[in-house]
Amino acid sequence: MNPSYAKPTTPAAMATQSAQLSEEAYRALEDIVGAANVSRDAAVLDTYAFQWLAELVRPDQSHYMPRPAAVVLPGSTEEVQAIVRLANKYGLKVKPHGTGWYHWSGPIKDEDATLQLDMRRMDAIVEIDEQNMYAVVEPYVIAAQLQAEILPLGLNLNIPGVGCSSSIVASACAYHGAGPDTYYMGGNAENVLGMEWVTPEGEIIRTGSLGSGDGWFCSEGPGPSVRGICRGTLGSRGGLGVYTKCAVKLAPHFGQTEWNVEGTLPAYRLPVHENLRVYTLAVADWDAWAEIYYKIYDNEIGYIFHRQFNLAGADLSPAFWLMHNDASKTLSDVPEFVADPKIAELTEELRISFQLILAGRSRDDIELQDKILEAILDEVGGWKVERFCEQDMAEFTNVYLQRLGHKHINFVWAGGYIGSWMQFGTPDWVKGYVPTAAAGLERDAAAGKLVQCGGDAMMGSGSGIPLGGATGLEQFVSYDPDDYESTVAGIMHMEDAVKDAASISYPPGKEFLYLQIGWTDEQIWDALAHAKQPQAFHYQRQIKEAFDPNDIGDRMYPTLPEGYEAGS
């Protein structure tokens, strides 16, 4: 074990003291939102400091990010504006979050007095424009809510990979937003239209067509475009002001407009509409995997395209999912499933598999797509995995991927998971890192401190049509956050994955982003300065200086200090 991760000798009572805010500032906050909507109770604050992944980056593997100085629940854009102005006046940081899932949604530095903005009071669907196919929402509207409202209208929305429990505004305006239906609908980074943005100085900027009074339909204008400032692939992740409303583009929905789910918890089922087909498909090797991804993309068949079920690991995935579909079973039953010869056979059949939902505008359309898929399977030597295409599993797959309401299953094995790798690119490029990623997990899990579910526990979106066919695979690394050695093994894996990627000349993956949360500013600057185009972070500094002169946003909006170069 790396000595720098020696087990702490004191319990997790460390680092409770965070920067405070003055009595005057607290009273001013109460004046803005009302006393009931602001708290500095230590236990309440700890429920915001406690975040998944914190234990991987914080001193002594504490589960807590820095404790906010206060948590504030704004109820309107005007209240957000007032809070931001107050932060400027009193030298406070502001960190907003929607539903608040990830370590970076909390405060980043112990020395900062940070106001955590919990946006849950702003939860209205402002408008659904059926004709023009967009919806306007506030930050605490989650994808499940909007989807439920628009399916009856024959509309749907991209639900990002984090699941339908997530804030639409957060993924559209401030973070990444790809998921299973990004293949057809685009990610939320692409789908965002007009935005209402409270800048770090407290200005309210309404962007795109909204800024010219023409409504929400376009992000670029007529009116001011700030996409280049606010968005990019990852967004500003809470580091550059507060997004208080946005419009997202909607997509047509071809399934049933009445959402009548059947079955028993936890494996609900959605009957497969006659215009849909729900398949789990498999191929013999990774070359064939890349080939079929290209062909599906090239032929533009399909609606939802995702490698989903493999998150449980290629060795255990069939056993796990069949167990999960039996309400009386638990993880204790998985070994029994694994020992079943039929499931052992299925495990081999499913090794390189993925899910594809076809959706037709008509019966003719779906039949045509089916024929195209058959031809593709013939060409690449792929197959439909019969057991997972049977009615029970097809209906389960249907609800799973359409609603994406099971994303917390990412944590099912041990309560903690790390998404490593996930570099996005063409299928041929992505398949290039698969052997290294798989070997790396096998190696790191060998000591039994990570879940041993097979080296390939990789999951990700299919080749997105609006993304030029790009795809990616995220390695699901499961660790037990209640087990110190397992947590440390998770950290070691992240560090190993960065090195593994470098060893095959790939850029670092998602784990690199996770790790950076625990770094010093100097470490981050060094990493940014070694990026392919470090000047981008100098430009971003200038943007930050213009919009956030008092530095109320945290470093989730990455910048380089003036004059900083690699080796500075």
Binding site: A12, A13, T16, N37, S39, D41, A42, A43, V44, D46, T47, F50, W52, H63, L73, T99, G100, W101, D118, I142, A144, Q145, L146, Q147, A148, E149, G163, S165, W259, V261, T264, L265, P266, Y268, L316, T330, L331, S332, D333, V334, G405, H406, H408, I409, F411, V412, W413, A414, G415, G416, A445, G448, K449, Q452, C453, S478, Y479, D480, D482, S486
Partner: protein
């Protein structure tokens, strides 16, 4: 168990917030997607189940101390179990509702409880000591003239346990009497002990000793009389008998069969011992009481240890029974309603395991009446949205809360004005001809 036994649950909570919503696969609208009354009222994350777990962790770690806010977080919660259901959509290593109950018991041990609890528990203690204003005989006044037998003296088919609300609330008297008369109409001999509270309210408040004392008394009474079947019209009492009593020190391995009156009545109808012939032309919506529905499934006490397989996957030895709300008492009340000619059932969006609580549970009706009423008001609004003429349930506490919420809604010109509130078995009684009109 102790609070520290749930430390791992807290450490493995990922703050996913599933506990704040109904299971996502069941969401049908923006308005009725939310599942946790506690966080809807309290708003800060601490009020969710995940937040309560972390609150407990923070206390255990010595990072924070018990404040009035912490007390509010722990107790302003109906223990309705939505969090437990939603969490277990994906997780096998979490027991949110047990952890929440443990947090309460922990704070009770520290004597850090809401001030409104103090007179409540004093009344319960007095009743347990036989010093309350209502003696066991007083509690049986509701049964006068029904010809119920003393099970300690003569054998009966079933022992009826009315529970505190049905025993003492005048407005519920006809409802409970009707339920007994239905059983008698089907030919059952029904017994009634002289006894007190089951201890359920004390248990939910976190007063374990008082609940255990009540339970021990009840269990002895049943054992001494060789009781085979206990039937209760109270979902909370059923929950106490099935989920609390089996874990009490000295509890026998085999308790009597415990049934809610809707379960038994459903059996009697299906066995042809009750005939539902009189039409009851009414469009109804059914509210699943939390303690009969998602927390009413067969329950096994588990004792064991955690172990790891596949390196770090968390399992239990012996395997921990799965209590996730999948197998609650959902069919019996619906089957009864379907068997009544003229009754049309329209479901609310949040039903069965995804039910929005009536607001009364977890001692909130008694301790936090405004919060309890606000929770009920949301349910009544949801019921009204179905277009039903009547909101039907199978729990005294639910029905009391709903009746008051409908009245309040009507007073403010709300959509629930004119909505009737009934017990399922009142409608059954109408259809058997036992009664001519519902109360």
């Amino acid at each position: 168990m102790a609070l520290t036994d749930y430390r791992a649950d807290a450490m493995r909570c990922t703050r996913c917030s599933y506990c704040k919503w109904i299971p996502f696969d069941l969401v049908k609208s923006h308005q009725f997607a939310k599942g946790c009354p506690s966080i809807e009222a309290g708003k800060f994350h601490a009020y969710s189940a995940g937040g309560k777990l972390v609150t407990a962790l923070s206390l255990m770690d010595g990072r924070s101390e018990v404040t009035d806010r912490v007390v509010d977080v722990a107790f302003k919660c109906q223990l309705c179990g939505n969090c437990d259901v939603a969490c277990k959509m994906c997780r096998y290593d979490m027991e949110p509702i047990l952890a929440l109950r443990e947090l309460r018991a922990h704070l009770v041990e520290m004597d850090r409880v809401p001030e409104s609890y103090r007179p409540l528990i004093e009344r319960k203690r007095a009743a347990l000591a036989g010093k309350g204003p209502k003696t066991p005989a007083d509690r049986n006044a509701w049964a006068e003239g029904l010809g119920l037998k003393d099970p300690a003296v003569e054998p009966v088919d079933v022992v009826f346990y009315a529970g505190c609300k049905y025993s003492l609330e005048e407005s519920l008297r006809e409802t409970v009497r009707t339920q007994v008369r239905l059983l008698q109409l089907a030919g059952l001999t029904v017994g009634l002990f002289e006894n007190g509270c089951c201890g359920g309210l004390a248990d939910k408040m976190g007063y374990r000793d008082e609940a255990a004392e009540a339970g021990a008394r009840m269990l002895k009474q049943w054992a001494d009389a060789g009781v085979k079947t206990v039937v209760t019209p109270c979902a909370d009492c059923r929950h106490t008998f099935t989920r609390v009593y089996p874990g009490l020190d000295g509890a026998p391995a085999d308790l009597p069969e415990i049934l809610h009156t809707v379960e038994l009545t459903d059996r009697l109808v299906k066995d042809g011992r009750l005939e539902l012939t009189t039409p009851v032309p009414l469009t109804v919506t059914y509210h699943d009481p939390c303690n009969l529905g998602r927390q009413g499934e067969p329950y096994q006490v588990w004792e064991g240890v955690e172990k790891k397989i596949y390196g770090q996957a968390v399992v239990y030895d012996p395997p921990r029974p799965r209590h996730n709300g999948a197998n609650g008492v959902y069919a019996a009340p619906r089957d009864l309603l379907a068997a009544i000619p003229g009754v049309e059932l329209v479901e609310m969006e949040r039903s069965r395991e995804a039910t929005w609580c009536c607001g009364a549970g977890g001692a909130c009706r008694e301790a936090f009446p405004e919060y309890s009423a606000a929770t009920a008001a949301e349910r009544v609004e949801e019921a009204a949205s179905t277009g039903a003429e009547a909101l039907v349930s199978a729990c005294s506490r639910c029905e009391l809360n709903f009746a008051e919420a409908v009245a309040a809604d009507a007073a403010s010109g709300g959509p629930a004005a004119g909505m009737q509130v009934h017990d399922v078995l009142e409608l059954v009684a109408l259809s058997t001809g036992l009664r001519e009109e519902a109360s």
